[in-house]
Structure formats: C-alpha cells, structure tokens
C-alpha cells in the first residue's frame, strides 16, 4: 500500500534541460491565463455595460450566456456550420435580452438593487427550467468549428489549440469594437449621456426607452456570443451560466463598474492570477514548506487567489481600477 505524500522529484535530467522545460511551461501557462482572461472579458463586458450605465444588477446575464450556448449548439448541430450557430446565438440572445428588458427590467430602473436581484434571480430559475423543458437535462454536444480545430506549436513541444488562440483574437477584437462604439459613435454618446442624466436626454427628444432596450439587447448579444465561444470548450448544460457569473462579477468589480476598459484589464488580471496560481503556487510554496503542506496550502490559496486580489484592489481603489467618472 502506498502512503500519501507527494512525489517531489522529477525524473533526473540535466539542469539546463529542466530549466528550459520549466520556462516553456511558464510561457504556455501565461498564454492559458491570457486566454481565460479574454474569455472572461467577453462574458463580463455586457454585464459591466448594463450594470454601469443602466444601473441594473442583472444576475440573469449567465442565463443569456446559456441561451447563446444552447442555440449555437443546436443550430450548428442541425446545419453543420459552427458559424451559422454563432450568428443564431447572437440573435437568440438579443431577442431574449430585448424581451427581458421590455417585460421586466424596464420596471426596475427606479427600484433598489434588492428588487433587481430578486427579479433577475427568479429569471435564472425560470430560464433554467425552460431550457430543461426544451432541451432536456443531457448536456448538449458541440464541436469545434472545422476551420479552428487542430493545434499549432507556438511554444516548441507544446501544441496549443488554434481555437483558444481564436478566442483570444475575438476577445481583443470585441474590446476594440466596444471602445469604438461607446467613445466614438453617436449612439455611444447618447448612452453615456443617458447614464448621467436620463431625464435631460429624454427631454432633448431622444427615445430613451428604446435606447435602453437596445443597450440591454447589446449586452445580451455579448453574453450570447460568449456562450457560443464557450460551447466547444465547456459542457453545454443547464446552470452553466451560474458557474461563470461569479467570476464575471469579480471582473466587473475589479475593473470598475461600467468601465469596458476596466473589464478588459480586470479580466486578464483574473485569468492570469487564477491560472498561474493553479499552475505554480504549490511549487513556489514548496521552496519554503514541506511538500504535503505546500500541496494543501497551494490548493487552498490558489482557489482564493482572485478574491484576495479583488480585496487588495478594493482596499487601494474602492471603485475599481478604472472608475467611471459619470456614474449614474
């Protein structure tokens, strides 16, 4: 019988070879962290827009993410084209978002956050049950898009999935697009104005209700597309939105509520801290501690890592890294 206890010693090989191997692993893990971060940005961008500009805490953001993933899986399975599924995911999420706004959220802008939390929490339960009734409980299968399957060796000896690189690029493109929309376009200007003084914008003859419906739908599209991106990577199943929602809120809070730039920086920070913590914290602690304790502490600390980072940032900058000046 084996006793518990960590095998510390790697197979003996030359020190130089070992160092280069560790270096390669490190580069690969940084890439992994970046990818997780960019993915988190895709999920949290819509959340921070709705939260920051409209002042609504939308717990059902994860449900929109799930709707996106389910739609993408179903349509791409039926049509054989991932990209058709991707488009459908955006459309379905936009529709769901617009419906949510018109039927429910519109009544909540003036109510306090507790009411919003209650209603959107109810929405989570409602959407989960609805998805169960439509699709059943078996997780859906969803394949990689053909054009992005396979892997490339960015780091020699460590093939990296092309799809993950695609997610990084898509996320960065999304960030640039959002920045352009909000800072450089007329719609963006109206949205910013509306977040500062709703009545005044309305008095100037802008249909603020329609603007908010559009904005909410846009946030929903971002969530839905994030779901479509996530589909090939994670299990497409009921409740998949809730597991990602907490991380998305951490990102939003770190970045500064309402700031897209903050969401990007916050997301990448969270992705790197989480991935590198899981990958290396134990080895790092092993330098000072006995192996068993290092393993225990490493696992515990790495699961707390992002929350510790969030707490530290909030101590130094209570409104997040990039506080939005306008406010609500």
């Amino acid at each position: 019988m084996l006793t518990g206890g960590m095998a510390l010693h790697k197979p003996s090989r030359s020190q130089a070879g070992k160092n280069s191997r560790i270096m390669l692993l490190f580069i690969e893990q940084i890439l992994n962290g970046l990818q997780l971060g960019v993915f988190l940005f895709l999920v949290s961008a819509g959340l921070t827009l709705i939260f920051g500009i409209m002042g609504v805490i939308n717990l059902a953001h994860g449900s929109l993410y799930m709707i996106g993933a389910y739609t993408c899986a179903t349509v791409s399975m039926a049509s054989g084209s991932y990209w058709l599924g991707f488009l459908a995911a955006g459309l379905a999420a936009a529709l769901a978002g617009a419906l949510m706004e018109v039927i429910l959220m519109r009544r909540l802008y003036r109510r306090d956050h507790l009411d919003q939390v209650l209603v959107t929490f109810g929405l989570i339960l409602f959407v989960n049950e609805a998805v169960t009734m439509i699709w059943g409980r078996t997780p859906l299968f969803m394949d990689l898009p053909q054009s992005l399957s396979g892997s490339v060796e960015i780091v020699p000896g460590a093939p990296y999935p092309v799809y993950r690189l695609g997610v990084i690029l898509a996320g960065l493109a999304g960030a640039v697009g959002l920045w352009f929309l909000i800072s450089k376009t007329r719609i963006g200007m109206l949205i910013r104005a509306g977040s500062t003084n709703r009545e005044m914008v309305s008095a100037l003859g802008v249909d603020i209700d329609r603007l908010y419906t559009l904005l909410f739908a846009a946030g929903a599209v971002l969530a839905g597309l994030a779901g479509a991106f996530a589909g090939p990577l994670v299990s497409v199943q009921v409740g998949m939105g809730e597991s990602i929602l907490i991380l998305a809120f951490v990102v939003v809070v770190i970045g500064g509520i309402g700031s897209v730039r903050g969401a990007l920086v916050g997301a990448i920070l969270v992705g790197l801290v989480d991935t590198l913590g899981r990958a290396f914290l134990r080895d790092f602690l092993g330098l000072f501690l006995p192996p068993a304790e290092a393993a225990g502490m490493g696992a515990a600390l790495s699961s707390m890592g992002i929350y510790i980072v969030m707490a530290l940032i909030l101590v130094i900058r209570p409104k997040g890294l990039f506080p939005v000046v306008a406010g609500r």
């Binding site: 893990q29 997780l36 997780p139 993950r164 990577l233 899981r278």
Partner: protein, 393 residues
C-alpha cells in the same frame, strides 16, 4: 376580478393537496429524495425514472404489494433534504426512504429514517462513516461504497501495467477520498496530485502540467459537467491519444459521453454496471428504459431500478409488510433475493454491496456511434475496507 380568479385557483390547489394523499390509503409509502434541479439534476431524474420503471412494470406494486412513491427535489441542499425527510417520515408516514445522490445529503436524511424505526435504502452514495462504525441495522446500501470505484481504477491501472500516474480531483472531501481510494490499490508512483476548484470551467493549466509530467496514465474524478469540460479541453490539447485516462463512472457515463462526443474515444472507466452487461435482467431493463423514456440508461437509472427491485424482493418475502414485520423485512433485504441488472449481487455484513467491477471503454460501434463497451472484469466480489469496524451481526 383577476384577483378572485387567482384566489379561486389557489383554493383549488389547496383542496387538491388535501385530497391527493388519501387516494392510496393502504399503499406502502416510499420517499424518494433526490437531486432534480441545477446541473446535477439529470442524476436524480435518472434515479427517479429507474425506480419508477420497476413500479410501473408491476402496475403500481413492488413484490405484489401496492406502493406509493413520494418524490421530492433536495436541490443539493442538506437543509432542504432534512425538512423533506422529516415531513415524509412524520406526516406522510413513509416506511422507506431512498434516492439521495450526494454524500453530503445522505448523512442528514438517513438518520431521520433510522431514528424513527424506518428503513433507508441508499441507491447512490455510500459514504465511508456509515459503512464502518456508523453502520445501522436498517441502513442498506444497494449501489456501492464510495471508495470502490476509485479503488478499482487503481487496480485497473495496475492491470494495464501503468507505473506513473497523475491524479486530478476537486479540492473537497469527496475528491480527497477518491485519491485515497485510488492509492489504496495502485502499485505505481503518483507523480503529481492536482487539486482543482469545484465549479472550475477551464482546465488549461492542469492539462499543461499533465503534458509536462508525461505520466503513463491520468486518473481523475470530476462529477458530471466538470468532467465534460475537462475531457473536451483534454481532447483539444491533443492529449487524448497520447496519455490514457482511467476515470470512475461518475465521470464517464452515457450522458457525459453525449456531451463530450467523439473526443472521448478511448477513455476508460470503472463501473459496477453497464448497458451491455450480458444478463437477462439487464437486457430487459435496458430495452424497457429506452422504450419508456427515449434515452440511454445511465448507472443512476440502473441503481434506481435495482433499489426498487431489492425492496420488491423483500416485500414479496414478507407478504407486503414493512413496519409491521420489521425483523422479517430486514432479514429479507439482507438476502437480496433478486436478479440485479448488474449481475451477481450480495450484501456484506455491514449491508454494503459485494459485487463485480468492470472496465469500460468508449468505442465506436458498427454504426459509427460512440458508446461505452465493457472490455474486462477488473475485480470480482469486491466489497469495502470499512466493514470490519461495523458491529452488526
């Protein structure tokens, strides 16, 4: 007007609530408390449907005795489960409780039945404290003791000649138990233990470490959807053909396979039951289940069915008596005189199963569809290591 309508509807529901339980006055009540909501809801769904199938096949009876099945969702919340169990035992007078999926819920539910002189038949979880010193004469586990599927993974790794293993589990009690179970029989070296977070969706960091460690085999335990996340990403990283995987069946069954798709080809799993096991009871069960529910049976469905059939065998012996002849019913349960769909089945002295464990492999059939095929018997008549501490008999 609308308000009146609502009130009327509420009243109608209330009346219906009073009337319904009176319908089957002399039926034996069986309380099935299981997890029907959230991501693990499919486990409970299969458990319930497997159990119901056995009742439906007898036209509302088990072992010739009329039964009434009360089904409630615990929401994976021990607090909820406790309230439901108390209601079922005290108000509904349920004679038998069963159905709990999770090891953190069962220690709350089972004692409520046992302390009130009722029976508890565990149809999924078999946590170690209740297999050893905490065993009880009215507590029967018809599924497996938790350690068994991990222990048998260790044996399977030995059989395959693997010398170096990486183990990966979530950082909580069941995960640590899985590692302990695997180590109990694995004779090679564990080169790395990776502890993940519960609810983790991205496994890129762990996969990079596995690639760098180059073990002979990966043993991992991740429940349900987490397993799908990991397997998809493992396949995309190009490791599925490179470093083989052995997993316990909680991480690889028909529903998980459907979610992972072709990327799962070649993965091996340990299980006490599989849809292709060659015995008459199993063939009938698999056909009836597919026919009734239009989906593939999972181990949870088979366990629900076996639990119901075990209860049926005891009811047949006692002529439909449970609490009026508790000693007789208990003795009849111990006999386990029924054709289990998993094949040979008997109870050890601690009333936990002694049964065979099989190695399954995800393979493409003649129709090109991936399914789990039984490839070998890992170990026969495998019990558990806790029985010695049990003071029954």
């Amino acid at each position: 007007m609308l308000k009146n309508g609502v009130r009327l509807a509420a009243l109608a529901f209330a009346v219906a609530g009073f009337v319904a339980p009176a319908a089957a006055e002399d039926a034996i009540r069986i309380g099935l408390i299981t997890t029907l909501s959230g991501p693990p809801g499919y486990l409970g769904e299969d458990m319930r449907d497997g159990f119901k199938l056995a009742i439906d096949e007898e036209g509302g009876k088990l072992g010739g005795a009329p039964v009434e099945l009360l089904v409630e969702d615990d929401g994976l919340n021990p607090g909820n489960a406790k309230q439901i169990a108390e209601r079922m035992v005290r108000r509904d007078n349920a004679a038998i409780l069963t159905g709990v999926i999770f090891s953190n819920v069962q220690p709350v539910v089972a004692p409520i039945a046992l302390n009130n002189g009722r029976f508890y038949v565990a149809s999924n979880a078999g946590p170690s404290p209740m297999a050893g010193a905490g065993c009880h004469e009215n507590y029967f586990v018809s599924s497996w003791q938790n350690d068994a599927m991990h222990e048998t993974a260790g044996i399977a790794a030995n059989n395959a000649g693997y010398k170096k293993a990486v183990v990966m589990v979530p950082n909580y009690q069941a995960g640590k138990d899985a590692v302990a179970g695997f180590k109990r029989f694995f004779k090679g070296e564990i080169v790395e233990e990776l502890y993940t977070q519960l609810n983790q969706t991205d496994y890129a960091a762990e996969i990079a470490r596995i690639r760098s460690d180059k073990p002979d085999v990966v043993f991992y335990f991740l429940p349900g959807g987490l397993s799908i996340n990991f397997l998809k990403q493992y396949g995309q990283a190009g490791l599925m053909g490179e470093i083989p995987i052995i997993a316990p069946m909680v991480s690889m069954e028909a529903r998980i396979l459907a979610g992972v798709g072709d990327a799962a080809e070649g993965i091996r799993a340990t299980a006490h039951w599989n849809a292709d096991l060659d015995n008459a009871a199993n063939k009938a069960f698999v056909a009836a289940y597919r026919d009734a529910y239009k989906r593939e049976p999972t181990p949870w469905a088979a366990q629900g069915y076996d639990a119901a059939r075990l209860i049926a065998s005891a009811l047949k012996h006692t002529g439909g008596k449970v609490l009026d002849d508790a000693d007789g019913f208990r003795a009849a349960l111990r006999e386990a005189d029924f054709e289990a769909v998993r094949g040979a089945f008997k109870f050890a002295a601690n009333q936990h199963p002694v049964q065979n464990w099989y190695l399954l492999e995800a393979r493409k059939g003649a129709d090109g569809k991936l399914s789990l095929a039984t490839t070998q018997t890992i170990v026969e008549e495998h019990g558990d290591v806790y029985g010695a501490e049990c003071k029954l008999n």
